[in-house]
């Protein structure tokens, strides 16, 4: 094997690099090119349900039929605009709530003594290991009209009648914040744990109050953690499908649900592809930003 590779001038390094590289090219990058291709295609009642882009027209004439209709359809139909804007809004608000809840938790854990710290972090990650789907399902039992939360509120006398909570936007926010909170806490904790405490001591020695020191030192230094956490929550939340379809109003417009419906219910693969491409175009910048942040974090030892 080795001799064979050598003969072709392929070193061990290249070989080792090639295996994961080829896999990711074939199963991650090329699929996007195919999605792009099919988004320019027209629907056809066949299997697969779209018309080929290229076909031979007469003598050695390759005809390319680019159909921009799917994208025109997305632009013209208000439903898609609303779905995109609503998804971005819901994901943005959820990210902010995650940050507001997650920051104090990460901070409190990072300031605990080292032995409890690990146990607490384990407890943060543990729910993540149990099924995401079942954790979302648990909220149905809590939020529905005769569910735990309504029963509790009636029992303490805060309300007389159950409030409609399930199938509202509120339920979707709760679901997203609940599911993605660990993703916010992890990078924040990793950042806050590394903070040099002598900086805070120095600030205190120089007469700054604790909140001043926090605002002027801890917060600015934790910005990389904040950015990583926010991207880790925001990007997948924009395309979220499970949470809005289980907890949200059936009419709630989220782009992940729209894509799913176009694909599974309307069997319109070209429009589903166009929806995916448009979503990807919007997410490309945050994803690249995330990739750079991630590379700076994990690849610290790479450029030796």
């Amino acid at each position: 094997m080795k001799g064979l590779l050598k003969r072709f001038g392929v070193g061990g390094r290249t070989f080792v690099t090639a295996i994961p590289y080829v896999w990711l090219l074939v199963f991650f990058l090329i699929p996007f090119i195919i999605v792009l291709k099919i988004s320019f295609s027209t629907t056809q009642i066949a299997m697969p349900p779209y018309a080929p882009l290229l076909h031979w027209a007469g003598e050695k004439m390759l005809q390319v039929q680019l159909n921009l209709g799917n994208f025109a359809f997305l632009v013209e139909d208000n439903l898609y605009w609303m779905a995109y804007l609503n998804s971005i809004f819901v994901a943005g608000v959820s990210t902010l709530i995650c940050l507001v809840i997650g920051y104090p938790i990460a901070y409190a854990i990072a300031r605990s003594n080292p032995s409890t710290r690990n146990v607490l972090m384990l407890l943060i990650v543990l729910p993540f290991w149990t099924s995401f789907l079942l954790r979302v399902y648990a909220w149905i039992g809590i939020l529905k009209n005769n569910g735990l939360l309504n029963n509790f509120l009636i029992w303490i006398g805060a309300i007389d009648q159950p409030i409609q909570m399930l199938q509202t936007d509120f339920a979707v926010y709760v679901g997203i914040v609940y599911s993605y909170l660990p993703f916010m806490i992890l990078p924040l904790y990793a950042n806050l744990e590394k903070l040099d405490l002598t900086l805070l001591e120095a600030a205190a020695d120089l007469g700054s109050r604790p909140w001043q020191a926090f605002y002027k030192i801890t917060l600015p230094l934790s910005v990389p953690g904040i950015i990583a956490g926010c991207l880790l929550v925001f990007i997948p939340a924009v395309g979220e499908f499970v949470i809005p379809s289980l907890l949200g109003d059936p009419g709630m417009l989220m782009i992940g649900k729209v894509l799913w419906t176009e694909f599974f219910n309307n069997r319109d693969w070209p429009v589903a592809s166009a929806v995916a491409i448009a979503l990807l175009l919007f997410l490309v910048i945050p994803i690249m930003y995330f990739q750079r942040a991630q590379d700076a974090e994990t690849g610290a030892g790479a450029h030796r």
Partner: protein, 289 residues
């Protein structure tokens, strides 16, 4: 001052953990509920566990999911370890940025996009190459490897970045070939990271609904697909029983792997100390001599 800070910490942590754990606890409690109405307590019962064990659809789906998860986690660890090693140890090379982009993008890519794109790939491949024939376990496993190997890569890459590479260098200096260094030195040291990468990949695969729904064919329903179609119709107590079993398995798994890793860590620390002590002794005796 300090007391106030401790109080703040206690309140934040109590509220935070209550938020994270109340839903899970409620799932477990109501799995032992006699009543079919999930939130009305009708007395203690284990009948939903019995019902679960007789539900052939769920059992078949669970078996398929376990097979898929074990297979794809194992292959994802192999590919993810290669990718992590390349990124952490091979230094800059042409195409490194693309590789690191391809390994981090799946971490955040919305699942509907990944699922759709993989399905369209499989359809195109079938048209052009005649493989894979139809959709089923093969396509599910390929898809799961692709999105879980990204997580393994990150785990391995950051472990390698933290790792002191002087041992590897020493082995190289003593004339070991790179692959020998990798299998005899690097791999044993990063083994805990591989183990947690495998567990992570296994859990993610076992749990995935969206990507799987796109690439699964008729007759290859995984456990999350069955759960989702049941849950869409409303709460049902046997799903609570299923959730409880999963939580118990995860808790035991995490506990056991935690203990194993701790033990290994202790042994490793002891070995390192012994090596240091031996070294010191040698130096001392050399000095005397």
């Amino acid at each position: 001052m300090n007391q106030g800070r401790n109080l703040f910490r206690a309140i934040v942590l109590t509220l935070g953990f209550a938020f994270l754990y109340i839903p899970i606890v409620s799932l477990i409690v109501y799995s032992f509920n006699e009543s079919r109405l999930v939130t009305v307590w009708g007395g203690f019962s284990t009948k939903w566990y019995g019902a679960l064990l007789q539900n052939e659809q769920i059992l078949n789906a669970a078996w398929l999911s376990l097979k898929v998860a074990a297979l794809s986690a194992t292959l994802a660890v192999v590919l993810g370890t290669l990718a992590g090693t390349v990124l952490a140890r091979f230094g800059p090379f042409k195409g490194r940025t693309l590789l690191s982009g391809l390994t981090t993008a799946p971490l955040v890519m919305p699942e509907v996009i990944t699922g759709l794109s993989l399905l369209l790939l499989f359809v195109t491949m079938e048209q052009l190459l005649g493989w894979p024939k139809g959709r089923g376990m093969t396509t599910i496993v390929i898809s799961h490897i692709t999105f879980t190997m990204a997580f393994v890569t990150v785990v391995v890459q950051s472990r390698l970045a933290q790792m002191d590479d002087s041992l590897e260098e020493a082995a190289m200096d003593l004339g070991a070939r790179p692959h020998k260094v990798f299998f005899l030195i690097t791999l044993p040291i990063i083994f805990p990271a591989l183990l947690s990468g495998w567990l992570l990949a296994f859990t993610l695969s076992l749990d995935d609904l969206v990507i799987t729904s796109f690439v699964a064919g008729p007759g290859s329903s995984t456990l999350p697909m069955v759960i989702f179609s049941k849950v869409r119709l409303g709460v049902s107590p046997d799903i609570n029983a299923l959730a409880t079993i999963l939580v118990a398995v995860v808790a035991v798994g995490v506990l056991v792997s935690g203990i194993v890793m701790r033990r290994q860590q202790i042994t490793r620390d002891r070995d390192a100390q012994m090596a240091l002590a031996a070294n010191q002794q040698m130096i001392d005796s050399l000095k005397k001599g």
